[in-house]
C-alpha cells in the first residue's frame, strides 16, 4: 500500500540573514525541496503583523511542522514566539474542538552558538538542550502533536570555517526525504537527544 507522502511546513525565522553563515544556506537548500513549504516569517511579516488566518490555513495543509532558526536565549527569535501566541488559538490548536494540529509531527531545526558540551551539567548552559526546549515539547503535547527531538547544529559560529555546513545540509536533505516518504522511525525520533546524533539509526533503508 502506498502511504500518502507527508507534506512539510518549515517556518524559518532569522532577523539578521545578512550575517547568517549556516541558516542562510540551509534555508536556501530547503527552499528548493519540493516536499517542503518554506516560509521566511521575517520576510512575510517585517512588522510582526502576523496574519492568523493565512497561518492556520497553512498548518491545515501540512503534516509536519518545523521551526527553523538560530537558538536565541534558549528559545526562538521573537517572531516565532509571536507566531505561537497568535496562531495557536484556543478552539483551533487546543481546548474543546481544538484538534486542527492533532497527530501532526513537530520539531525544531536549530543552530546553537555554543558547542554540544556546553549543554549539560558540566557545561555553562547547565541543562541538556532537550530540557531547555521543554516549553516547545509541552506546546506540542497540548496541541496533541507528536514532538520529535530537535535537528541541531552545535557550534554554528565556527561551522563554516570547520567545513561542517555542507554535511549538515546533506543530513537535512536526508531527514526531509525520510520524513516525506514515511521512513523515519517516529518512536526513536521522539526519544533521541537530537535527530542528527545518529541519523542512520533513525532511518529505514533508503529507496
Amino acid at each position: 500500500m502506498l502511504e500518502p507522502r507527508r507534506r512539510i511546513l518549515v517556518l524559518f525565522a532569522h532577523p539578521a540573514q545578512s550575517r547568517s553563515e549556516v541558516n542562510r544556506p540551509l534555508a536556501r537548500a530547503t527552499r528548493r525541496l519540493e516536499a517542503v513549504t518554506f516560509v521566511d516569517l521575517y520576510a512575510e511579516y517585517p512588522t510582526l503583523d502576523i496574519d492568523i488566518d493565512v497561518e492556520q490555513e497553512r498548518l491545515l495543509r501540512h503534516d509536519v511542522l518545523v521551526f527553523m532558526c538560530p537558538l536565541y536565549w534558549y528559545s526562538t527569535p521573537a517572531i516565532l514566539k509571536e507566531w505561537q501566541d497568535l496562531v495557536l488559538e484556543y478552539g483551533f490548536a487546543y481546548g474543546p474542538g481544538g484538534t486542527a494540529l492533532a497527530g501532526k509531527l513537530f520539531f525544531l531545526a536549530l543552530t546553537t552558538g555554543g558547542p554540544e558540551r556546553a549543554y549539560g551539567p558540566e557545561g555553562y548552559n547547565t541543562w541538556p538542550l532537550r530540557d531547555l526546549l521543554r516549553p516547545f515539547e509541552q506546546t506540542a503535547n497540548l496541541c496533541r502533536m507528536t514532538y520529535l527531538a530537535p535537528f541541531v547544529l552545535h557550534g554554528a559560529r565556527h561551522a563554516a570555517e570547520e567545513g561542517r555546513v555542507g554535511t549538515h545540509i546533506a543530513e537535512w536533505r536526508r531527514l526531509i526525504a525520510a520524513l516525506e516518504e514515511g521512513r523515519l522511525d517516529i518512536d526513536a525520533a521522539r526519544t533521541a537527544d537530537r535527530l542528527n546524533a545518529d541519523l542512520d539509526l533513525l532511518l529505514a533503508e533508503e529507496g
Binding site: 532577523p15 539578521a16 540573514q17 545578512s18 550575517r19 547568517s20 553563515e21 549556516v22 541558516n23 521575517y42 520576510a43 512575510e44 517585517p46 512588522t47 538560530p70 537558538l71 536565541y72 536565549w73 534558549y74 527569535p77 543552530t111 546553537t112 552558538g113 555554543g114 556546553a118 555553562y124 554554528a156 559560529r157 565556527h158
Partner: protein, 650 residues
C-alpha cells in the same frame, strides 16, 4: 434716531459692564443681565416703560434658543425621551398647577382664577435654565437632561394652555372677550376689537379647517426642513458669502415663527420642530454658529428687561406679601420637583440639579399672564403682583445654581465619583475632510469613537453624506463653528485643513482657548511643520512623509534587500528624520528668516554634513543604527564560558 442709539448704548453698556463681572465671580451671565436690568431700570431710572415692548422682541431669543435646542436633538433622541417628556414633564405641570390652585383657593381666589394662576406659575424659565446649563456644561448630565425634558414639555404645554385659558374667562371682568389663539410671544396683536383683525390665517374659519391649516403648516415645516433646506443652503454656499448664510439662517427662523403665529401655534414650538428636522443636516453646525450670537444677545436683552421691569414701588408697598409668595412659590415647586425626582429615580447630584434649576417661574409665565388678562381670566390687580413674583423667582434662580455648585463641592468629597453618564458630544473634531481627514475619520469610527467632521466644501460634505459619513458644512477655522461643534468638550482636534494659514491660526486659537484639547495637525511641508510647531502643535504629521518612506522601503526590497532589513531602514530613517525636524522646529523662529537664524543654520549644516557623508558611503549613525541588533559575539576561539549573549549566534 438718537433715541434709539441712546437706548441701544444704555442696554449694551449695561450688559458689557455687568456680565463679565458676574462671570468673573462665577455667578453666570444670567444674573449679570438681571442685575444690569435692575440697575438701569428701577435703580437708576435711565430706561422706563419701553422695556415692556422691548421684552416682546427679546422673547424672540427664546424662539431662537428652542431652534438651537432642536438642532441638538435628533428625532430618535426625542423619541427616546418620550417617557420623561410625558411622565416627568406632564406630572410636574399638572401637580404644580393644582398645588398653586389649591393655595389660590385658600387665599380666597375664584376657582377659575386660581387655576389660571396655577397654569401660569407651573412653567419654569427655559431661557435662564438652558442658558445656565449650557454655560456650566451640565446639559449632557443626568440632571440637565431631566430638567430639559421638563422644560420641553412645558414649552409644548403652552399651546393647550393658550386654548384652555379663554374658556375660564369670567364674564364679569369684561363685556366682550376678544380672544385670539395667538401666542403672545411673537405677535402680540394689540387690543383686539371687532373691527380690527390681527394677521391670522385661521380667523373666521370653521373648526375643522383650522385643524387642517394647523396640521398642514406643521407638515410644511417638516417636509420643507427635510427637502427644501438642503438645496437652498447649497445654493447659498456656492456664493461663499458668510453674511448671506447668516441672513438665510435668520430668515428661516423668522419665517417659521411667522407661519406659526399666523396659524396660532407657538413660534417657539415651530422653530423647535424645525430644529429637530434639521438636526441631521450637514448645515447644522453652521446654522448654530450663525445664530448663536443673535440668540445670546436677544436672551440677554430679555433678562435685562426682566430686571428692569421689576416694579419696586409695588414691591416696597407689599414687600412682605410679595417676597413671601415668591419664596413660597419656589419652595412649593422645589418640593414637588423633589418628590418627582424620587419617583423617577433621579439620584445624587442629578436630583439636586433637577430640583434646584426648575424652581422658578418663567418667561412663558409672562406671556400667559398677559394673555390671561387680555382674555379677562385674571384681573389686572392680580396680574401686577404676579408679574413681580415671576420676575423675583427668576431673579432668585442664579442664587439656586450657586447653591447647587456649593452643594456639589460638599457632596463630592465623601461620595466617590458617580458612574456618570458619558456626555454625548463628539469627543473628536476633524477639521477638513479631504483625503487626509477622511482616513483619520474612518480609523476613529472603526474604533467606535464619535467624530464631528467639518469642511467648507459643501459638495464634498453632501457626497460623503451619501456614503453615510456624517459631516457638517462650514469654515472650520471660524471659532464659532468650532464652538458649535463642541470644542469645549472635545478631547482631540485633528487639523487637516487644506489652507496652510488657516490651519496655523486654528492651532493657535485652540491652544490658547482650550489647552486641554489634544491637537493632531497635518503639515504640508517642512516650513508648515515649523509654523504649526511654533503655534503650539506637537503631534504634527507631514502629509507625504510616511508614504515617501514606504516608497523607499519598497524600492529597497526591489533591490533585493530582505523585507525586514528594508523595514528597519525605514524605521531608523523615520526616527532620525523626525528628530532632526524637531530640532530645527525648535530653533526656527517665525520672526527672523532662517538664513539669519544662526542656531538654525548651524544645525542645518550639521545635518547636511551627515547626509553627505552617508551618500559618499561613509559610516554614519544611520548605519550603526540599522545594523545593530541580533549581533553574534565576535569570532575567535576562546574556550572559557561565553556570556549568555553568545547564544544569539550562528
Amino acid at each position: 434716531m438718537e433715541g434709539i442709539l441712546f437706548q441701544a448704548a444704555i442696554y449694551l453698556a449695561a450688559a458689557v459692564l455687568a456680565v463679565p463681572l458676574a462671570n468673573r465671580f462665577g455667578f453666570g451671565s444670567v444674573l449679570g443681565y438681571l442685575v444690569a436690568g435692575v440697575v438701569i431700570g428701577p435703580f437708576l431710572g435711565i430706561v422706563g416703560a419701553e422695556t415692556q415692548d422691548l421684552q416682546h422682541y427679546a422673547e424672540f431669543g427664546v424662539v431662537m434658543m428652542l431652534f438651537l435646542i432642536g438642532l441638538e436633538l435628533e428625532p430618535k433622541t426625542l423619541w427616546a425621551m418620550r417617557v420623561r417628556l410625558v411622565g416627568l414633564g406632564g406630572l410636574q405641570i399638572a401637580l404644580t398647577a393644582l398645588a398653586v390652585m389649591a393655595v389660590g383657593l385658600v387665599l380666597g381666589l375664584e376657582w377659575s382664577v386660581a387655576l389660571a394662576v396655577g397654569l401660569v406659575l407651573s412653567l419654569s424659565s427655559t431661557a435662564i435654565v438652558m442658558q445656565t446649563l449650557s454655560e456650566k456644561g451640565w446639559t449632557g448630565t443626568e440632571g440637565g437632561r431631566s430638567a430639559f425634558s421638563v422644560l420641553l414639555s412645558q414649552d409644548i404645554a403652552v399651546i393647550p394652555m393658550l386654548a384652555l385659558i379663554p374658556l375660564l374667562a369670567l364674564p364679569e371682568f369684561a363685556p366682550y372677550a376678544g380672544v385670539e389663539l395667538v401666542d403672545g410671544a411673537m405677535t402680540r396683536v394689540e387690543a383686539h376689537t371687532d373691527e380690527h383683525h390681527g394677521m391670522s390665517l385661521v380667523e373666521g374659519l370653521p373648526g375643522w379647517a383650522v385643524t387642517l391649516v394647523v396640521l398642514s403648516s406643521v407638515v410644511v415645516i417638516v417636509l420643507g426642513g427635510h427637502y427644501l433646506t438642503r438645496p437652498v443652503f447649497r445654493y447659498i454656499a456656492y456664493a461663499k458669502l458668510q453674511e448671506i448664510f447668516t441672513a438665510a439662517a435668520l430668515l428661516l427662523i423668522v419665517g417659521i415663527a411667522l407661519l406659526m403665529s399666523l396659524v396660532g401655534l407657538s413660534p417657539a414650538l415651530g422653530t423647535f420642530l424645525a430644529g429637530v428636522v434639521l438636526a441631521n443636516s450637514e448645515y447644522r453646525h453652521e446654522l448654530e454658529a450663525n445664530l448663536e450670537p443673535f440668540k445670546g444677545l436677544l436672551l440677554g436683552l430679555f433678562f435685562i428687561t426682566v430686571g428692569a421691569g421689576i416694579d419696586f414701588e409695588l414691591l416696597a408697598n407689599e414687600a412682605g406679601m410679595i417676597l413671601g409668595l415668591a419664596l413660597g412659590l419656589m419652595l412649593l415647586k422645589f418640593l414637588l420637583l423633589y418628590g418627582l425626582a424620587i419617583a423617577f429615580r433621579i439620584t445624587g447630584e442629578a436630583r439636586w440639579l433637577f430640583t434646584l434649576s426648575l424652581s422658578q417661574a418663567g418667561e412663558f409665565g409672562f406671556v400667559l399672564l398677559s394673555f390671561s388678562t387680555q382674555s379677562n381670566v385674571i384681573p389686572d390687580t392680580l396680574a401686577a403682583p404676579l408679574n413681580l413674583i415671576i420676575a423675583l423667582s427668576m431673579l432668585g434662580t442664579p442664587a439656586l445654581f450657586i447653591f447647587f455648585e456649593w452643594l456639589c463641592r460638599r457632596i463630592e468629597a465623601p461620595e466617590a465619583h458617580e458612574p456618570d453618564d458619558i456626555d454625548d458630544t463628539g469627543t473628536v473634531i476633524i477639521a477638513g475632510l479631504g483625503r487626509f481627514g477622511q482616513i483619520v475619520n474612518r480609523m476613529l469610527l472603526s474604533q467606535g469613537h464619535k467624530t464631528v467632521v467639518l469642511d467648507y466644501h459643501h459638495e464634498l460634505i453632501s457626497d460623503l453624506r451619501k456614503l453615510g459619513i456624517e459631516g457638517y458644512f462650514g469654515d472650520p477655522s471660524r471659532p464659532e463653528l468650532l464652538l458649535a461643534a463642541g470644542i469645549r468638550d472635545a478631547k482631540v482636534l485633528v487639523v487637516a485643513l487644506d489652507d496652510r494659514e488657516k490651519a496655523v491660526q486654528m492651532v493657535r486659537y485652540v491652544m490658547r482657548e482650550f489647552p486641554d484639547v489634544k491637537i493632531v495637525a497635518r503639515a504640508y511641508d517642512r516650513l508648515h511643520t515649523y509654523q504649526l510647531y511654533a503655534a503650539g502643535a506637537r503631534d504634527i504629521v507631514r502629509e507625504t512623509f510616511d508614504s515617501s518612506v514606504r516608497a523607499g522601503r519598497y524600492a529597497l526590497m526591489a533591490l533585493g534587500h530582505h523585507p525586514l532589513d528594508a523595514e528597519r531602514a525605514a524605521r531608523v530613517y523615520t526616527r532620525q528624520d523626525r528628530t532632526r525636524l524637531k530640532d530645527l522646529a525648535q530653533l526656527w523662529d517665525p520672526a527672523i528668516s532662517p538664513s539669519e537664524n544662526e542656531a538654525y543654520m548651524q544645525r542645518t549644516r550639521e545635518i547636511n554634513a551627515e547626509l553627505n557623508a552617508s551618500m559618499k558611503g561613509m559610516r554614519t549613525a544611520f548605519h550603526d543604527q540599522t545594523e545593530r541588533g541580533w549581533t553574534p559575539p565576535p569570532k575567535g576561539g576562546k574556550a572559557k564560558p561565553e556570556p549568555p549573549t553568545s547564544e544569539a549566534a550562528e
